[in-house]
Chain length 631, copies 2
């Protein structure tokens, strides 16, 4: 408990939840870290698709592709604003699909989101770890453990509560946004004042590139578009996290979404345009962003500052998942699609089980994939496109049904959005299928089936367990009696306490001893008679070392002989030492025994603590052992 408090800080009261809510100022950076970090690579992704095929001709298409992405972003922001209006409890694509498309589409949205959130964590920490290893090659052997450490760091921050994680993780995001804004502004000022000139490529570089447009095709443009769409991930998170915001939560969520849109358009548009003007193409071993900042700032302090915060922001991108997924799991737990434990808040009022779930699965992914971004990326962003498509299509159906003011207008926006994102799903899925997206194609249906199974289980159990009126079986139970069985290891004083207790709860008491040697049994029987204990002693002799099986058999026989409605109570003494380290000196079989006994329907296990302290007087021990009996 003390270690827990040290790591997590003081427990919070339930009423403190208001203080745990996010203001607009801290909500923005928390929601933005994923989206903003993708600016660090979205433009580059477009060029990486185009340049190998059509060389510098790529520069003709980049502006149009970037514009389309920004248009799609606007559609998504308008669409998610409407979702926030209509679904104030959060849940985004899942709730929209549930209401407008039915159960299975909603499970499709939920599993896609779960997978994509976790992939976000794995990909972000892996690329942050790769960035650090690139800077310090000496750390290569611990690359995986670096990534794991990042996951643990973000997990701990989130377990400490939303407010604290907001301050911890929000500040670097603001710094990163500020740096990029400075980069864009200074870059354009230097371009306009003529102190900065586009790259000039030497012929031996451009020769390597095809300059004909023969490779150009619709598929190529679509693939470039789909790759660039990675800039859009993270938009969904706001609509999942509404309950995390200060009141008026919906209004604040919409404001944050709008600001987020503005930030993405400014940063993505600005850096893409600047890269275009500077004619930068992807080069191995460095990024577009770092090339731009070298050109704009030279090898100055600001260049290194941006590099450092690019690494930090990649770690923080993981944080977006920690804000969105636990709330989604909470909603799913509420609807009975995931284990109910996900609906509990921890001592700091965060959804600690959801946070731990992300932590464990992300670490597994990082370890299995060796913290390699290259191997993880193909699994990424399929899920988010599926959820975009479903939420757009859900809203499309909603307007069609509602037909309130301006419905046709809204319907066509969402319809267009659904179509464009559906194309995104197909392009991303097909182009990355062999590289790993096939795993997602298996994982999503499996997850849907599991959630469906869980839901059926809860429904059946809930239905059957509901207590509507007082049951006749209870009234019949006036005659219910229990038979006590005291498990005895050897004749010692703990027997007094057990027998004491057994006599209090039952008028049918047996002492049971399981014995491995016949001679030992005889001796025990004799000692028993000598002591004159007023209780039956039953000895079961087993030829094996294992005593669980003969116990089980004995209990089975006794259970079969029970009268209607009666039960067996097995009393197990648990030796409690004054010092925790003394516990290892006494065989601890309590839980093994309890587990076996619990398999029997009419048998309860009674764990009777026997506090014994060899360091105090016999008289004191007697008082401890037998309660307040003597005053």
């Amino acid at each position: 408990m003390n270690i827990k408090n040290l790591l997590l800080g003081k427990p919070l009261k339930n009423t403190d939840i208001k203080g745990q809510k996010l203001s607009k100022a801290w909500g923005l950076p928390l929601m933005a870290s994923d989206a903003v970090s993708s600016v660090a690579y979205a433009g580059q992704e477009i060029l990486l698709v185009l340049v190998p095929v059509i060389g510098l001709g790529a520069f003709h298409f980049v502006p149009w592709i970037a514009l389309s992405i920004m248009l799609l972003l606007l559609i998504l922001i308008v669409s998610y604003s409407q979702i926030i209006d209509h679904y104030p409890s959060g849940g985004g694509a899942y709730l929209v699909s549930k209401e407008n498309l039915g159960k299975m589409p909603s499970l499709l949205a939920a599993s896609s989101l779960i997978i994509d959130y976790i992939m976000t964590v794995a990909v972000s920490v892996s690329s942050a770890s790769e960035a650090i290893v690139a800077a310090f090659p000496g750390l290569t052997p611990v690359k995986i453990w670096l990534a794991v450490a990042f996951v643990l760091l973000v997990t701990l921050g989130n377990l400490r509560g939303i407010q604290e994680s907001a301050r911890l993780f929000g500040t670097p995001t603001y710094i990163f946004i500020g740096c990029l804004a400075l980069l864009i502004i200074v870059g354009f000022i230097r371009l306009l004042t003529g102190s900065l000139h586009p790259m000039v490529y030497s012929p031996n570089i451009t020769q390597g590139l095809s300059n004909s447009m023969t490779g150009l095709s619709l598929v190529l443009i679509l693939r470039a578009f789909a790759s660039g769409c990675s800039a859009l991930t993270g938009v969904e998170a706001v609509s999942n996290a509404i309950p995390n915001f200060k009141e008026p939560a919906q209004h604040n969520a919409k404001m944050i979404l709008a600001m987020l849109g503005g930030v993405i358009i400014f940063l993505f548009g600005g850096t893409t345009l600047l890269g275009l003007k500077l004619q930068i193409i992807p080069v191995n071993g460095t990024t577009i962003l770092s090339q731009i900042s070298t050109m704009v700032f030279g090898n100055s302090f600001l260049f290194y500052f941006i590099q450092l915060f690019t690494a930090i922001i990649l770690i923080l991108a993981a944080n977006t998942a920690y804000n969105g997924l636990p709330l989604l799991l909470y909603i799913l737990a509420h609807d009975g699609f995931v284990p109910r434990q996900f609906s509990h808040r921890g001592t700091k009022l965060s959804f600690s089980n959801g946070i731990m779930f992300i932590c464990i699965v992300a670490i597994l992914l990082v370890v299995v994939f060796g913290a390699s971004t290259h191997r993880l990326i193909p699994l990424y962003s399929v899920g988010v496109f599926i959820s975009f498509t479903l939420s757009q299509y859900g809203m499309f159906r909603k307007w069609h049904k509602l037909r309130d003011k301006g419905w046709q207008h809204k319907m066509w926006i969402n319809g267009f959005g659904a179509l464009v994102t559906l194309v995104g799903v197909c392009v991303v899925m097909s182009s990355k299928f062999i590289d790993g997206a096939w795993m997602i194609a298996i994982a999503i249906p499996v997850l849907m089936l599991i959630m469906n199974y869980i839901n059926k289980h809860y429904e059946k159990v809930g239905e059957e367990l509901t207590l509507k009126r007082f049951h006749p079986y209870y009234e019949q139970s006036a005659s219910h009696k229990t038979q006590a069985i005291v498990l005895m290891q050897s004749i010692n004083k703990s027997l007094l306490k057990s027998l004491n207790y057994a006599n209090a709860i039952s008028d049918n008491v047996t002492v049971l001893h399981i014995c491995r040697h016949a001679e030992h049994a005889k001796e025990l029987q004799k000692n028993w008679a000598d002591l004159g204990v007023p209780a039956k002693l039953e000895i079961v002799i087993t030829p094996y070392q294992d005593i669980i099986t003969p116990l089980d058999k004995y209990i089975k026989t006794r259970e079969r002989a029970l009268k209607h409605g009666d039960s067996l109570s097995v009393i197990i003494i648990k030796f409690i030492s004054e010092h925790w380290y003394d516990a290892v000196l006494h065989t601890q079989t309590t839980y093994f025994l309890e587990r076996v006994l619990s398999r029997h329907k009419n048998v309860s296990s009674i764990i009777l603590p026997f506090h014994y302290n060899p360091n105090i007087s016999p008289e004191e021990n007697r008082r401890n052992l037998f309660g307040n009996q003597r005053n």
Copy 2:
């Protein structure tokens, strides 16, 4: 259970213990693996001390040192034969010291032996792993895991029972002994027939060596002697393992000890003499043994065969510890110096707890020391010399006291042995102190203190707990009553079962609900009244998420209000699912609750299993839930 049976084989009956005993034929190789494996390096250890100081002059001293070691071996064998005669239950140095020297010397012997046995395992598997890595450098990154795998392999073999491990591990030892015997015989025949000639060293090798005798000193000779004494480790094991042998156990143990002595003298003497005749000196990157076998057999099949079995025998040397230590721990557990669990046999009648203890500590050592023989060796063989000295000195004292036929003769043998091995302790300790033996100098007293603490604990507890006659407190307890508290999470059918049971054991029943929200509490109170349950409902409202603390507080208050001799029984429903995987869908707090409740002296925890299967009819469930009540 099924995995356990698969790994360990079918459980054995207690009466099968006879079939688990070792014959002479299988006992010899099991006891010999450690001693025989040390032949692979004992001669070399002597040369490694001498050659750097006095060069080829070493050859003058090696025969005398080897002879002294063999003489000491003879003394040890005679001495341990006498120990076997007088201490038939095993325990060797520990029992001898306990009877003749007192408690603390016996604990010194016990801790020295425990440490040395475990060091044997760590050193053997590490050097086996190094041998394999030397042959296949590609395995270097997994060197530690190879050593860990060897430990697990030997552990598993031993858990399967003595008989099975004897066959598994005995055969390779015989093969190795056979190979070495062949090597010695063929070597001497070839020397006599003149087809084999001593090494001739080129001047540039001998120039590097000092040929003057200036470095010669008594300390040097003693250090060489102490290093060579590593050939003696493993002799102790026979006297610890007597109960493992077939009847007549003492006779068989003595026969095995004598045969072991013969084997060591033949192999150690033979290889040392052969090496001497061939004038072999230690060379980096290869061993004396492999140099001899290259010269005798050339690069033939037999050479590789010997190399292979040298690696295998190093793994098997670990096995000696698995035969001696669990029995020593059994005897110590019996005397109350180590936790009692070490006296239990497993399903295969091996001392499974002792075996697991070796496994865990050895793996820890291997991992911490990076499976490096070089770093482990300084910690090795101090312990075995201490135990030799104590057992010799103990026997010396025994003869002095007994004064039976020929006592003076026996006394002087053991006295001389004690003196020589005491010198061994001093030389080994001082020459290896800085390199790591200081850890042993700390570990041995710490272990002694722990064993002493455990002994005091058991003595006090045992004394106080003994039940000599029937206690008055028991008779007073006719008035003992228990008050039942049903822990309720929500109103559902499990409540019926708990109330049923609570009413059977007590006439004072409370239903307790711990609630986080005041509104929720009001609603529950209303539902409770509507249902008309004939029991008190108490609701504790907590502002925090944690429910354990308020429960603890509530129980404390109730406990304080108890009448003399009464107790509280807290009923906890445990939801048991038909399928194990459904268990994760229901919050499992049973053990947390039980742990907190057990801290209270007058409170017992009753775990009531609630078997619920959503896949069967409501009528069937009702029958399952409420027992045989309705027929």
